[in-house]
Structures are given as structure tokens and as C-alpha cells.
């Protein structure tokens, strides 16, 4: 029972981290019709910026938590203006190719600036150590990750359904021409959406910094996992990203505990099954 609860809490923390990455991927896909191969690289940038702000300059982790998404979003504006806006009318596979190129560029640049040694960020004192909860010792930071995932999820839900900016984004996603007719500046919305999705990835990187080794490989590791999440949940679907992240978190959290031999292959089997049985994903719209 204890190990079950431990695995459960771990799955949740892992799932929430994946959610923070997958949600941006899905927002960008939903509005821009782009699959962002470089999304993991943006997450990595968030972690490196957190390291630079929190450790190198000695400012606190809490400031880094705000700085990282903002800086990543600013970089994303440049990326969108220089590169991505040129290919919106192309087949979606072109976006995979262009963002793959972007992934190579960001990965190498990060290695250039920060070197390839491993960096670590200490969690703030208030979030280190463990507390006793549900009968076992829980790492405080794990609970913080879960809380952050839920807060971001709820905040985004409120934003998309309750604010004008959120509704504008959804309108632009549904029909570009119509949006333009009713006076929405579509190119501006697209830039904003890409920066927004990238910013959340940067936030995910900041959240991950105290629990992951910061290295140039962290982006490539997480991007395929994020693809699994959005495919299982449904490409472009907001609740899908949440559900997909929980499922992959559980596959990893329980799988490595109870089925270690199949640990590597299980996420891909899950991904393939969903694609074959319900290609739009568990929460995806059935008509495209």
C-alpha cells in the first residue's frame, strides 16, 4: 500500500510536469496548426535561464520562476517573426521539419553559452525536505509541482473561457478568415499564441530545474514524451493534455515500479493503441 501511494504521488508529479510542456504544445498546434518539435528545447531554455538567474546571479528562485517564462516568451516572439510565420500555409509536416531545425539550433546554442557540464539548482529552503502525508514521507517539492500544474491548468481554463484574449485565441484557431473579418489582428494573435505556449514550456523548465539535472540533453529527452502525451490526450485538446499527462505519468510511475522489463516500450504501445483506436486522442474532437 505504501509503495502504491508513493508510486501514485510520483505519477502525479511527473504527470503535472509533462502537462506543463504538453499544454503549450497543444495550444500552439490548436491555433497555429504547427507541431513544435523545438518545444522541449524551449523547456530546456527555461531551466537554463532559471539556473542563470537563481544560481549565477544569486537572485532568488522565485524571481527566476517569473523571469524564465518571460525570457523564453520573448525569444519565442523572435522565432515566430523570423521563421515560423513563413510556413503557416504549408502542410503540417513542414512545421515538423522547420521546428526540428530550430531544435538543433537551440540545443547547440545552449551548449555554446552554458557549456555541456551538468548544472543544478537548489530548491528554495521552504520547498526542500519531506512531509508525512497519506502515511508516507512525501518530498515537498513534488507536492509543489503537483500544485503548480493544477494552478496553471485552472488558470488557463479560466483564461480561455472567461477572458476576451482567450476567446480571441480560440476564434483565431477555429477560422482565420472569419477572425480577420471581425477585426481580429490574426498575425498578432499567432505571435502571441506561440510566445504564450513557449512561455508555459519555459515555466515548466523553471519548475523542473530543482529536480532535474540541467544539461543540453534535457530537451530531446522530453519532447518525445510530450508527443506521447498530446497524442494520447488528443492533438490540440486542452483537457486532453491534462489526461494524457496523467496517463503517461502513471505509465512511467507505476510501470517502472511493477513492470520494469516493459518500462521503455509501454508508452509507445499506449500511443499506438490510442492512434489506432481513436486517432483524435481520448479527448479529441471526433470530426476534424
Amino acid at each position: 500500500m505504501e509503495s502504491f501511494i508513493a508510486a501514485l504521488m510520483n505519477s502525479l508529479a511527473l504527470g503535472m510536469l509533462l502537462f506543463l510542456i504538453a499544454i503549450g504544445l497543444n495550444i500552439i498546434f490548436g491555433v497555429l496548426n504547427i507541431i513544435n518539435f523545438a518545444h522541449g528545447a524551449l523547456y530546456m531554455l527555461g531551466a537554463y535561464i532559471t539556473y542563470t538567474v537563481a544560481v549565477l546571479t544569486g537572485v532568488s528562485f522565485w524571481i527566476a520562476l517569473f523571469a524564465a517564462p518571460l525570457i523564453v516568451a520573448a525569444i519565442a516572439v523572435v522565432i515566430e517573426r523570423v521563421m515560423l510565420h513563413r510556413i503557416y500555409d504549408r502542410p503540417i509536416t513542414d512545421s515538423l521539419l522547420l521546428t526540428f531545425a530550430l531544435l538543433l539550433i537551440i540545443d547547440e546554442t545552449v551548449r555554446w553559452i552554458w557549456g555541456s557540464t551538468i548544472h543544478v539548482v537548489d530548491p528554495p529552503a521552504s520547498l526542500s525536505g519531506t512531509v508525512r502525508l497519506l502515511g508516507i514521507q512525501q518530498p515537498v517539492y513534488g507536492l509543489f509541482v503537483i500544485a503548480m500544474g493544477l494552478i496553471v491548468g485552472l488558470g488557463l481554463w479560466g483564461f480561455f473561457s472567461g477572458t476576451r484574449a482567450g476567446r480571441v485565441m480560440r476564434a483565431a484557431a477555429i477560422d482565420r478568415k472569419m477572425s480577420r473579418l471581425v477585426g481580429i489582428d490574426v498575425p498578432l494573435v499567432f505571435t502571441a499564441v506561440f510566445a504564450f505556449g513557449a512561455g508555459i514550456a519555459g515555466f515548466g523548465g523553471a519548475i523542473a530545474a530543482p529536480i532535474r539535472a540541467i544539461s543540453p540533453a534535457m530537451g530531446a529527452n522530453i519532447i518525445v514524451e510530450s508527443f506521447i502525451v498530446v497524442v494520447i490526450g488528443g492533438l490540440g485538446s486542452f483537457p486532453g493534455a491534462f489526461l494524457g499527462a496523467l496517463i503517461l505519468g502513471a505509465i512511467n510511475g507505476f510501470g517502472s515500479r511493477y513492470l520494469p522489463e516493459l518500462n521503455l516500450v509501454m508508452p509507445y504501445i499506449g500511443m499506438a493503441l490510442v492512434l489506432l483506436l481513436k486517432p483524435q486522442g481520448l479527448m479529441g474532437r471526433t470530426a476534424s
Binding site: 503540417i92 509536416t93 547547440e108 521503455l264
Partner: protein
């Protein structure tokens, strides 16, 4: 038109002759570079049957390439199989695996197809990585000897120059087969499907089955390329099955031009030569590759060969 075709044929013949005598005039190292270009070019051309001709982006083709590599490596290691038979087995193995994976994948289109090929490819990778007793796990299959070729040919395959020339012959023959397929009525149907699957379906052609045929042929040639690759690198490792290996033929097809038959070969040459050249003075090769790729996708989507041919046709 026929005059231009004749010109191109003559040009290819000259290049092939020059390549055949490469060991006689080029520095020794370029034998290895040329062999790698030929093998990866065949892989990319096989891949491009699905990508450029049938219009589907697969991110799982490393499964067939790597499977071919493992088949040849294991046959050489455990049974001292003559290379000719090992290569035939790799070709058949790649095709068979593509039949199984393709059976599922061709049900989907566009990005869903891409994601499913990625999932299946990574499944094969995971199996090779974790089934240590059979596949050697992360070490892969190493230490196999490249013995005889078979078919009554007495070749010293351990000599890189001989292995290179053998590779040249096999890749040329395989490339010719692929070319004949692309200009056959079957190949024309594939092209039509890439442009407008609904219209093709309307004429009564079973689109999904044709996609599967294309996928299987593509997998078979990728498997053959893998079979040639293992004795060349002397190892069959899980990396040859990883999605990043699947990305290589994509990049090569884009660089050379996915709408032309020779594009992937040209792309392979550009890729390998650039890599060899750039890594000799900087280890920032990936940054350079990223920038080149981004520029190609944004401005030269038809690739170098494709763009060059466009220019020529416009002028003529």
C-alpha cells in the same frame, strides 16, 4: 526532353564510372565517405518513395534500416552466412517488418500517420535496447567477421576498397529497381495519391492498399541499406533504430529535393560531405545543420536538385 534525359543518363554514367575508380584516384579516406553516402542515399531514396512520392512523412523508417542492419550482423555473427544471402535476408526482413507496421500505419494520414510510425519505430528501438540476451542491448551486435560474398564471387570484403565497390554495384542496381518502380504505372498512381487521394479513390483504386505497397517496398530497400551499413560500420547498434536515425533520410530528402528521384542521393552526399568537412574544424556541426535546414525549409523547399531542375526547365 528526350535529349535532356539522354544527357542526364550520360552524366550519371560518367559519375558512376568515376565512383568505380575512386579508390584509384581519391585519398583513401574518401572510400569510406563515398560508401556512407551511397548507403545512406539508398536509405533516403527508399524512404522517399513514401515521403516524396506517396506524400506521407514517416518518422519510423529507422526501424527498417536498423532491422536490416541487425539481420545481417546476426547472420554474419552466428552463422557465417555469405554476405549476398545476408543482404537478401535484410531486404526481405525490412519488407516484412514494413508489412506488419504498415498494415496499421496506412490506416492513418498526415500527422497521425507520422506519429504512429514514430511510435512503432520507437517500439522496435525499445525492444532492441532491452532484450539484452538476444540483441546485445545497448552494445548492439559487434565483432562479427565479414567473410565471403557467395554466388561464386571471390571477393576480399575485408578490404574497404572492395567493399566500397560492391556497395556501389548493389546501390546502383537497387537504385535502378527503385527508379523503374517510380516510373511504372504503380509509381504514377502513388504520385497521384500524394496530390489528391480523394480523386484517386474515386477511380476505384484502393488507396490504402497502394499506400501499404509503397510502404513495404520502401521498408525493403531501407532494410537492404541497413544490411549494407552493418558490415561497413562493423556494428549494428540500437542507435540505428532510434527516431533520430529516422530523421536523417528526411533531412537528406529535403536537402536534395524530395520531388526528384535522385534528390535523396544528392541530399545524402551534401549531408555526409558537409558533416565530414565541418566537423573537421568545429564541433558545432549541429548548429550549422540546423541553420541550413531551416533556410532550406523556408526558402528552398524543393531542395537543391529540385530547385536547379526548376530553373533549367524554366529557361529551356
Amino acid at each position: 526532353m528526350s535529349r535532356r534525359a539522354g544527357l542526364i543518363t550520360a552524366l550519371i554514367a560518367v559519375i558512376l564510372v568515376a565512383l568505380w575508380f575512386l579508390p584509384a584516384w581519391a585519398p583513401y579516406f574518401y572510400i569510406f565517405v563515398a560508401a556512407e553516402i551511397l548507403i545512406l542515399g539508398l536509405f533516403a531514396a527508399g524512404f522517399n518513395l513514401v515521403f516524396g512520392y506517396t506524400g506521407m512523412l514517416s518518422l519510423g523508417h529507422a526501424a527498417f534500416f536498423g532491422f536490416g542492419a541487425y539481420v545481417t550482423a546476426m547472420l554474419l555473427l552466428h552463422f557465417d552466412t555469405p554476405l549476398a544471402f545476408a543482404l537478401i535476408a535484410s531486404l526481405a526482413g525490412g519488407g516484412l517488418l514494413a508489412l506488419v507496421i504498415g498494415f496499421f500505419c496506412v490506416r492513418l494520414t498526415e500527422v497521425y500517420f507520422t506519429m504512429l510510425t514514430l511510435a512503432f519505430g520507437m517500439m522496435v528501438f525499445s525492444v532492441a535496447q532491452q532484450w539484452r540476451s538476444f540483441t546485445g542491448g545497448s552494445d548492439g551486435i559487434t565483432g562479427f567477421a565479414v567473410g565471403s560474398f557467395g554466388l561464386g564471387l571471390d571477393l576480399t570484403l575485408g578490404n574497404p576498397a572492395v567493399y566500397y565497390q560492391l556497395t556501389l554495384v548493389i546501390v546502383t542496381l537497387a537504385g535502378l529497381c527503385l527508379y523503374l518502380i517510380t516510373i511504372s504505372p504503380f509509381g504514377l498512381i502513388l504520385r497521384a495519391m500524394a496530390e489528391n487521394p480523394e480523386r484517386v479513390a474515386f477511380t476505384g483504386i484502393p488507396v490504402r492498399r497502394y499506400r501499404l505497397y509503397s510502404f513495404v517496398i520502401s521498408g525493403a530497400f531501407s532494410g537492404l541499406a541497413g544490411g549494407l551499413f552493418a558490415p561497413f560500420t562493423r556494428v549494428a547498434s540500437p542507435e540505428t533504430l532510434h527516431w533520430s536515425q529516422s530523421a536523417e533520410p528526411v533531412l537528406m530528402s529535403i536537402l536534395g529535393g524530395s520531388a526528384t528521384f535522385l534528390g535523396p542521393f544528392i541530399g545524402s552526399a551534401i549531408f555526409v560531405l558537409l558533416e565530414t568537412w565541418i566537423t573537421s574544424f568545429t564541433d558545432r556541426w549541429m548548429l550549422f545543420l540546423g541553420i541550413v535546414l531551416a533556410l532550406m525549409v523556408m526558402y528552398l523547399r524543393r531542395g537543391l536538385l529540385g530547385t536547379a531542375l526548376d530553373r533549367l526547365t524554366k529557361r529551356g
